[in-house]
């Protein structure tokens, strides 16, 4: 109950104005607001480390500044819109949900999230939840000196001191409000934030079906609820023990759905950027994956074109990546500035599993692929659904203005390639490292593939009621209708079929 209050008031209320400014009346606002609050808490922890102060004072300052900036921007944009009095370009508007469908989506998503959250009845605190996140939450709680000296203390090297501050900052804020009496509180906050990130994914999938017929909308709402439970299912026990892997993975999948799948719009872009920022502030893997997704979003929203000036277009793309990744990159720079480095590549902590001298890059790669494989059991189904979808439903996807599925798959494969490279180049003994981590590091790939399947299900629910692709395009051209433009982005995978 305390954690729910903290989520709703401490984080949600602080983030509701920015969330509403970005997502307007979409049900995603409910899940986005606490994530924005958590992101602001992470920024406050960065300020606490770099400049001083306490987490409470820094958090209040960040919340006030962000909210004032958003309100000022909102008012300015509104006045400008009234002065110019131009009707909004419909092609750049996000699909709007009626309040009935928005309410239904909220009820179903919240109801489905309640199923895995029943596990919170057991007060579990997992290994990393103690070693990393609770320890860092104590440090953040203690103020600038405690945080700085704690992260620099070699006795804490086991806790991966370079990890980003979102989860510890939220835990520290909860302890500031409710005291240090219940250590499980920090773990519960992490789990609730993971649920919010899955809520962003779910509402994104429901939004994909909102422009269709009633069966499509129903399929969208059902798929939204299903993906929320599936996210917890692939994460297993670690996610109800306060691990953060589902949080960054679900936030990154949210960025994929809103930034690379849903129709291009300022709202969808805003939600995608916030989700990517949350992923980048949660864990190092989240930062690398968020960067991959942000690069893809930049190319989707600013496609390469010969008509535009080269310098300007590349500067815009760089802005699309750097702006949302700035908090995560700033933390990474700050943590290296104070002399703390990534334990995986520099040197393994004392007593931990050091790399065996007989290991070669090839043997490490082989072991990694063998370990990752069983965790991607959903991949063959996702691939089959992708092929069937591209064959039967390509034009339906274009009609719905959804992004080319290649974007999602590139994000998934890019994340897996980074993961493989980390395991191959890393300093730890590979088999122990894989045994203790691979089930968690593959959560993003699994959830994003489940999300792809769910999106295709929504399109198929709509496509079953429309005419076959070739027939509908012939009818459209004979009637003089404009055939919808091909999906933006990488066209090769579809055009080659």
């Amino acid at each position: 109950m305390k954690a729910l209050l903290m989520l709703a008031i401490g984080l949600g209320a602080a983030g509701i104005v920015p969330a509403a400014a970005v997502a307007r009346r979409s049900p995603v606002v409910v899940f986005l607001a606490p994530l924005i609050g958590a992101g602001m808490a992470a920024v406050a922890a960065g300020i606490e480390l770099g400049a001083g102060g306490s987490i409470t004072a820094d958090y209040i300052a960040v919340v006030v500044i962000v909210n004032l900036v958003v309100i000022a921007w909102w008012l300015t944009a509104r006045r400008l819109a009234q002065r110019t009095a131009q009707p909004p370009a419909t092609s750049t508007q996000a699909p709007r949900m009626s309040w009935v469908w928005a309410s239904l989506t909220l009820v179903v998503v919240l109801g489905c999230l309640a199923v895995p959250l029943m596990a919170l009845r057991a007060p579990m605190i997992g290994w990393d939840a103690n070693s990393i996140w609770l320890t860092h939450a104590f440090m953040v709680y203690g103020g600038h000196h405690e945080l700085l000296t704690g992260l620099q203390n070699v006795a804490y090297q086991f806790s991966n001191p370079d990890y980003p501050p979102l989860v510890p900052a939220v835990g520290a804020l909860a302890f500031k409000v409710f005291g240090l009496g219940n250590l499980h509180l920090a773990a519960v906050m992490t789990i609730l934030l993971s649920a919010c990130a899955l809520g962003v994914v779910g509402t994104g999938i429901a939004t994909a079906g909102i422009g269709g017929r009633r069966p499509t909308r129903i399929a969208g709402v059902v798929a939204a609820g299903a993906i929320c439970i599936a996210g917890f299912a692939v994460s297993g026990i670690s996610e109800v023990e306060g691990y953060t892997d589902l949080l960054w993975a679900a936030a990154a999948v949210g960025a994929v759905i809103w930034g690379l799948v849903l129709p291009r719009s300022p709202q969808a872009l805003g939600v995608a950027w916030i989700s990517a920022a949350v992923a980048s502030l949660t864990k190092n893997e989240g930062l690398t994956t968020a960067l991959i997704i942000l690069v893809l979003i930049a190319f989707r929203y600013r496609p390469i074109s010969r008509r535009e000036p080269m310098v300007r277009s590349w500067a815009e793309r760089a802005g699309f990546v750097v702006l949302p990744a700035l908090p995560g990159l700033a933390w990474a720079g700050l943590i290296r500035h104070i002399g703390v480095h990534d334990a995986f590549f520099k040197s393994a902590p004392a007593g931990a599993f050091k790399s065996a001298s007989i290991e070669t890059p090839l043997s490490r790669a082989g072991a990694t692929i063998a370990a990752i494989g069983p965790h991607l059991a959903v991949a063959p189904v996702a691939l089959a659904v992708l092929l069937a979808g591209c064959w039967f439903l390509r034009r339906d996807r274009e009609h719905a203005r959804l992004g080319n599925p290649a974007w999602l798959w590139i994000a998934c494969l890019g994340s897996l390639a980074t993961l493989l490279a980390t395991y191959v180049i890393g300093d730890f003994e590979i088999h122990t490292w894989l045994a203790t981590s691979v089930s968690r590091t593959t959560i993003f790939a699994q959830v994003v593939l489940y999300a792809d399947i769910a999106i295709w299900m929504v399109i198929a629910a709509d496509g079953a009621f429309t005419r076959a692709d070739r027939q509908s395009s012939q009818r459209a051209s004979s009637a003089g209708e404009q055939v919808p433009e091909a999906p933006e982005g990488p066209r090769e995978p579809l055009s080659q079929r």
Binding site: V115, P116, M118, A119, R121, A122, P123, M124, I125, N130, T135, F138, M139, G142, E146, T149, N153, V154, A155, Y156, F158, S159, L183, A219, A223, A226, I227, I229, A230, F232, A233, V234, G236, I237, V240, A350, G351, V378, V381, A384, V385, A388, G389, W391, F392, L393, Y450, I453, A454, W456, M457, I459, A460, A461, G463, A464, R467, A468, D469, Q471
Partner: protein
């Protein structure tokens, strides 16, 4: 291929996609429901409550037995409690990587009646 057969083909394809998605998502939901049921049994909840109570007890024992701000070195035969002592010392004591830098040595030892079978042992270095 005639229009009709193409239309039938598309409907079959849509049905296959919906079926594959429903089965895949349904299986994962089934898995999660089973898992959640397994971690919400009274026995499991009681076990976890004992673990949390033990951890909280050690957390308070450190604050009761170790002077605030003391440099401590944690050592136990088992790796896990050693690390746990460093974690729970945070905000109160300052864990040291070397015994030579510490003023106090902390260990966890089996004991009856203390923290559910464990007790904090504090020795001056």
């Amino acid at each position: 291929m005639s229009e009709r057969s193409e239309q039938i083909g598309k409907r079959v394809g849509c049905a296959a996609i919906v079926a594959a998605a429903a089965v895949t998502l349904g299986l994962s939901i089934h898995h999660d429901v089973q898992f959640t049921a397994s971690v919400t049994t009274p026995k499991w909840i009681a076990e976890q409550a004992v673990k949390l109570r033990q951890e909280t007890c050690i957390y308070h024992a450190i604050r009761a037995q170790v002077p605030k701000g003391a440099a401590v070195y944690v050592i136990s035969p088992d790796y896990r409690p050693t690390q746990r002592l460093s974690e729970l010392s945070t905000l109160w004591a300052v864990p040291q990587a070397n015994l030579a830098d510490a003023q106090w040595r902390l260990s966890l030892v089996p004991a009856h009646g203390h923290c559910d079978g464990l007790a904090l042992e504090v020795r001056r270095v």
